[in-house]
């Protein structure tokens, strides 16, 4: 056992996970040795067609066996048909004990619970949410779920910590020789950024498409030399769940108030100047922050350099307006972003490795000025929880949270002080996802708390005069005054979830919930 740098008592070894590298603080685990090398292979020029008749044929050809690790990307989000179809095929072929390694899972994947219960799936390395998260939290999986950030995952792949036996890549467009595109096709999803490392490092790569086009495919995102087999199916996903329509800025006054406070803070800092780079999510508060920042950029004649991360129509419009030079897109959220990545050379697809891997020669988050992120809870040390809810259930992935917080010059966490009767500012978060040392400010409707180690930001906010500054202690006391103390979550000793920091050390664990 050891107390790690965020005060968590973590065992030296966890059943189903192995030896623990304890979290010692941000940037305290440098890489060693070389990157992982995958097996050599060839496709002799006698073989110019990689297509196979169906998923089962591809599984057979790949050599996939029980106990192996298979990977998926989440660019089709809640519209994805591929993960469920592949696991159904594995089950029918009698393959069991699989480790699945998705970049994220969504509500549509609750179908997998049957494969978990029947033993087809032994372990999930990736975000779990909704019913699967609840199942894992209640002890329904034999080995712990391992959660990694969008940068931590490619780090695990490129370093060889995780070896992918077969990568199944849903491809909105492919040619017969395995050139893949996300930008075109009836199931277009834009960027295929999360699939790149899998394509590059998996021992075998199977592309699954519903739009086979003559060679060579247009707008190639993943090139043929990574892809072993191509399978054509009727449909890889439901377009309605893949991309949203127009993303509108919220009219919810509380979210607008929080966003306004965040925007005032951004405007007060040294980072709000020509060349600013910026990332927000697609959620209500994040998008509203972007809307306020856009207004301020227009008013003060500021031109930004790039928008990063998950790209929405809002960012596409900002680029068209000249408020950003370029967009670096690891995930395209809506139709406008999908169209833009296919048409505009300044809208650049980047891989998750490029986006956020801490173990390469420099990832995109390191060049980020400002990021606006969410939280389920924040605490006195500015630690942030995005993984568990107040009831202790593992319900959300890490996403790019740790990576962008670590990389950006100004990391802002927006959260309401209360959600219903549940306080979001607490003495100590239930699960540490992102350490307080990489968090600069917590923005709520009741005011903005700046991390005391950023005296420069406190001074800038005071000078601006319009940022409603409070201390973290004041926020926590206020929340406590409204709600009183929460009953502690009752758990068993068994660990059901391991939260890795982006460098692969263990920052926290999640324990099995006690039966009520």
């Amino acid at each position: 056992m050891a107390i790690n740098a965020v005060g968590r008592d973590i065992p030296d070894s966890i059943p189903g996970y192995g030896d623990v590298k304890h979290f010692k603080g941000h940037d305290r685990r440098p890489p060693e040795g070389n990157r992982f090398g995958k097996r050599n292979r060839t496709a002799f020029n006698s073989r110019t067609d990689k297509t196979l008749p169906d998923i089962k044929a591809a599984i057979s050809a790949s050599g996939l066996k029980s106990g192996m690790t298979i990977s998926f990307h989440h660019h089709l989000r809640n519209g994805d048909f591929v993960v469920n179809a592949v696991l159904d095929a594995c089950a029918e072929m009698g393959i069991r004990d699989l480790v699945i390694f998705p970049t994220a899972l969504f509500g549509v994947h609750k179908h997998l619970t049957r494969h978990i219960q029947s033993g087809v799936i032994r372990q999930i390395m990736g975000s779990v949410n909704g019913p699967i998260g609840q199942l894992a939290s209640e002890g329904g999986m034999s080995v712990p779920v391992i959660l990694r950030s969008h940068g931590g995952r490619p780090r695990a792949v490129t370093s060889g910590e995780v070896v992918i036996d077969v990568a199944f890549i849903a491809a909105p467009t492919s040619d017969k020789y395995g050139n893949l595109s996300g930008a075109v096709g009836k199931s277009a999803c834009g960027s295929l950024g999360y699939a790149h490392s899998d394509a590059e490092y998996a021992q075998c790569v199977i592309a699954i498409t519903d739009n086979l086009v003559p060679y060579p495919a247009p707008c190639i995102h993943i090139p043929q030399f990574f892809v072993d087999f191509v399978v054509v199916v009727n449909s890889i996903g439901d377009p309605a769940g893949i991309v949203s329509g127009t993303t509108r800025v919220t009219r919810d006054p509380m979210r607008l108030l929080i966003a306004d406070n965040a925007a005032k803070l951004i405007e007060a800092t040294q980072y709000f100047k020509n060349g600013i780079s910026f990332q927000t999510g697609a959620g209500g508060i994040s998008l509203a922050v972007a809307a306020y920042v856009r207004e301020a950029m227009r008013e003060r004649g500021i031109k930004g350099s790039f928008g990063l991360g998950g790209i929405t129509e809002f960012f596409v419009d900002m680029m068209k307006e000249g408020l950003f030079e370029r967009l670096l897109d690891v995930q395209s959220f809506d139709l406008a972003a999908v169209r833009s990545i296919g048409e505009n050379p300044n809208h650049v697809e980047i891989s998750a490795d490029w986006y956020a891997n801490p173990w390469n020669a420099g990832c995109a988050v390191n060049m980020l000025d400002t990021v606006v992120l969410g939280a389920t809870e924040v605490d006195r040390d500015f630690n942030v929880n995005v993984n568990t809810e107040a009831d202790g259930a593992l319900l959300h992935g890490i996403g790019g949270h740790q990576d962008t917080a670590a990389g950006a010059q100004l990391t802002i966490i927006t959260t309401p002080l209360l959600r219903g009767r549940i306080p979001c500012a607490v003495d100590s978060v239930y699960t540490v996802t992102t350490p307080g040392e990489v968090v600069d400010a917590i923005v709520t409707e009741f005011g903005v708390a700046i991390n005391p180690r950023r005296q420069d930001l406190i001074d800038a906010a005071k000078e601006a005069g319009n940022v409603p500054l409070v201390t973290m202690d004041e926020l926590i006391d206020k929340a406590h005054g409204f709600t009183g103390s929460m009953s502690p979550v009752e758990t068993e000793e068994r660990i059901i979830g391991v939260i890795e920091y982006r460098d692969g050390s263990v920052i926290d664990v999640v324990k099995q919930l006690k039966k009520k």
């Binding site: 009219r251 006054p253 509380m254 607008l256 108030l257 209360l418 219903g420 409707e445 009741f446 005054g481 409204f482």
Partner: protein, 292 residues
């Protein structure tokens, strides 16, 4: 002068809004025990409002409670519960008669003295939601020194006038003018009713500009997003402020020199113009001397 550009209604049964309403920076909040609360929830809402008032965290807002009408058997319990919490005022719905205000004045005095508060501390805001109430506006406004403002009704008033809502609310032109006239004759504020379409920002701005021109000092608000628009209309522009500063400074200088006539930019300025300039500075949050 107390700015009353916006008064935000907060449903008395909604802790989320009761705790957060002031964060939207309205000039005042109205914790609502009347229309927002179903009959079956009146007691629970009263207790909730009391507890929120005891926490007493409303920033710089003027805190009022809309009690139940005086023709119900709820209003006495309402004031007995909320007045000792030290609120700035109560908002009485459906006031028709100056006698009601006299009864309320006496009841408030009784509660204040029992709670060892300053007698007269609790102000009264009168909602005139019937034709009779509008007709008696001046007498109601003069019925107690506690009366701080009178406000015309919206839907209730339309119903009583046997009419319906038109696009430009023409049916309320007369009542609004009467309220402005009566309020200023009695020396109280005229505060306008709510703008119901919370998604029509342009319509809200048009109506606010119109009621400001009529002589209202502010509006009730049912959604926080309406607040910045109304504040924008009621806050003097930089140009208006600069001109007002010039006029007031010239008046102060003329008075210091013992001159009766005031000149600004070579033109004579009448007393009413000086008075209006002072009012402009007050609305801008500046004192008559131009200092913050």
């Amino acid at each position: 002068m107390r700015l009353r550009r916006t008064k935000l209604y907060l449903p008395g049964n909604n802790p989320n809004m009761l705790l957060r309403g002031h964060l939207f920076n309205p000039d005042g909040v109205i914790l609502d025990l009347e229309d927002a609360v179903a009959v079956s929830e009146k007691d629970a809402a009263r207790i909730l409002v009391r507890d929120v008032l005891r926490k007493g965290d409303f920033g710089n807002c003027e805190v009022t409670v809309r009690i139940n009408a005086m023709d119900t058997d709820l209003w006495r319990s309402d004031i007995e519960t909320v007045v000792p919490c030290g609120i700035d005022g109560i908002r009485i719905p459906k006031v028709e008669n100056p006698k009601d205000i006299a009864i309320m004045d006496e009841a408030l005095s009784h509660i204040e003295s029992k709670a060892k508060m300053r007698v007269g501390k609790t102000l009264i805001f009168c909602l005139l939601e019937t034709a009779l109430g509008i007709w008696n506006a001046y007498d109601i406004a003069k019925a107690s020194r506690r009366v701080a403002a009178i406000c015309p009704g919206g839907e209730d008033l339309r119903a009583d006038l046997k009419t319906t809502r038109s696009e430009n609310s023409e049916e309320l032109i007369g009542p609004r003018r009467i309220v402005v006239l009566a309020a200023h004759a009695a020396g109280v504020d005229a505060l306008d009713t709510v703008y119901a379409d919370i998604t029509d920002d342009a319509g809200l701005r048009r109506e606010t500009e119109w009621v400001k021109q009529l002589g209202f000092q502010g509006k009730s608000v049912i959604h926080p997003n309406q607040i910045p628009i109304i504040h924008d209309v009621f806050t003097p522009t930089d140009r208006e402020i600069e001109q007002a500063k010039k006029i007031v400074e010239a008046a102060v200088e003329a008075a210091a020199r013992g001159l009766g006539a005031v000149q600004v930019d070579g033109k004579m300025v009448d007393k009413p113009v000086v008075k209006r300039a002072e009012y402009t500075l007050q609305r801008a949050g500046l004192s008559a001397g131009g200092e913050k």
